[in-house]
Subunit: 354 residues, 2 copies
Amino acid sequence: MMYFTCGPTQLYPTVNDHIKYALTNDILSISHRDMQFMQIYERLENNLKQIFKLPSDFHVFFLSSSLEAMEKIIQNCVNKYSFHFVNGDFSKKFYTTALELQKIAKKIEVAPGHGFKNIAKIKIPRKVELICFTHNETSTGVETKFRDIYKIKKIYPDKLIAVDIVSSAPNPIIDFSKIDLAFFSVQKGFGLPSGLSILFANQKAIDESIYLQKNGINIGSHHNFPSLLQKSIKFQTPETPNVLNFYLLQKVTEDMMKKGIDRIRKETEQKSKIIYNYFYKHKQFKPFVINKDWQSKTTIAINTGNETKKIIKRLRKNKIIVSNGYGQFRNMQIRIANFPVHTLIGVKKLLNLI
Amino acid sequence: MMYFTCGPTQLYPTVNDHIKYALTNDILSISHRDMQFMQIYERLENNLKQIFKLPSDFHVFFLSSSLEAMEKIIQNCVNKYSFHFVNGDFSKKFYTTALELQKIAKKIEVAPGHGFKNIAKIKIPRKVELICFTHNETSTGVETKFRDIYKIKKIYPDKLIAVDIVSSAPNPIIDFSKIDLAFFSVQKGFGLPSGLSILFANQKAIDESIYLQKNGINIGSHHNFPSLLQKSIKFQTPETPNVLNFYLLQKVTEDMMKKGIDRIRKETEQKSKIIYNYFYKHKQFKPFVINKDWQSKTTIAINTGNETKKIIKRLRKNKIIVSNGYGQFRNMQIRIANFPVHTLIGVKKLLNLI
């Protein structure tokens, strides 16, 4: 089978061998407090810093899922007010997370398939402490360009900016001097088994959590920023973590760096063009997102209407799995993932079957 | 190598083959919203209900670590007051978790290596909502007998009782009608890779979280009990979980049930007797825990004093890894795990080398 699903997805081709190596060499039995684990942690951290070109004031934290990352960001960076750009189910989840944590969360919301027009004109209340973006809204395949996110940072330089890059990393080239937090999970762009999430947070975000804690605000206990920082300095985590995924991500980031991240990004661009061009010309099935500026490069939603089930069945017969539409679009769209693991040959085979 | 470490530990012997099957059959690429995952979830839940003989009012939740379980229990079951039986670093962690979450946490604390005498005489303040026990204190190898925990429940039937069974499950036979919550991680007694934790919570505990939520108490967002319950009914988790570990735990619980949980428990008893008897007779090295009622069956601490490093080195040369003492005992104790994965032959080999 070849999984073109939006995550979990096809495993990166080297994962199989890395798991077998881990089994043979007892990596799943080592202590998370011992040197061998700390070396894996340190190498992984360095790889991520290189791939994402993280400035020196950024810290790398390891969590279990992106939903957990949303919770920890809100708890540690917001006393009262957050603001959310909502254009689908995952950006809405960030917003409802803030509400559940009893923050005063405000949002601007646009219809599914849409992005944010004239973003610089959107008014964000003065008291807002944290602004939350979803770079790639997996539910609808809508991208919010980083240049638009930077515009907001320029207008509101004192507010923290958090960006969900769950289903786009490592594709976007990000100027981290213009955002404060970003997070993703490994079962998407990195082609790993699920169960590990990465959070980048700069010193300003950490300082905010320390400030809140000192002022008696509840920033949570497990995985609050000060506790993550304290352990990360020693290349450890507060809890016994998912050691297998630490090892696999260390190895797969190395494999990707050997291939070249720029080359991987170019291939992603190229494959996405081929996919969109194919559906532009298709008589029946068109991309859900019409505005080209908003079209996701990595999770592409196609209107397939009444044919949806039939297409999914035909692809499956030919050993290709794609994702259904999300939520309300379940029976009228397919979503095609375009991650580093997906080859040009695979994409062409998929398109030929539609 | 043979890992007699207190977790992560030696993998259960069937894990290797189960991982290879998972790789060959794309189990790491399936969607956590699809039938195939839901079937794994349902089977796993049923296995756990059988192994632990859970009453019908208990729910099974899946978290990422036992530290996360501590946080979620405090958040969802305590408005203001918790009480903690502290006799080592992990029971203390449960206590400090409550403090970090801004609860009024009270404790009774005894010295390392000690348990709680005349437990029925310990006064617990009237306002306390949740009482927290650590059945097996991994840091020192001290067990708190369930018969003592039941005594507390009998005296305080209205208060919730949570029990950390992290490093003893599945060994203790638990009368779940006399406790309300219990949790453990899979990298100890179940011999799995780390990154998954199991929480049993009864309806009374869930009702408490719903009551707190309705009354405007912050019970967290990610993995709060109502959200876990809502998804668990559909055999799903709120987030993309550690699918590999769900699959492995489903398979390993089946392997254990085939062997017989009672037989596994008998072997655990037998091995622990052999280990303690060996050190009773040893001229130099004695069990750290003197009171037999308090001696852990599953993580056994031995005073090895100045010889500690030498013993660990000699064992390692002979392909056996044991744990250091924990915290302040790092350089003066070894800890020997006695989990289902550890064979009688392995135990004898270990002891002969000391």
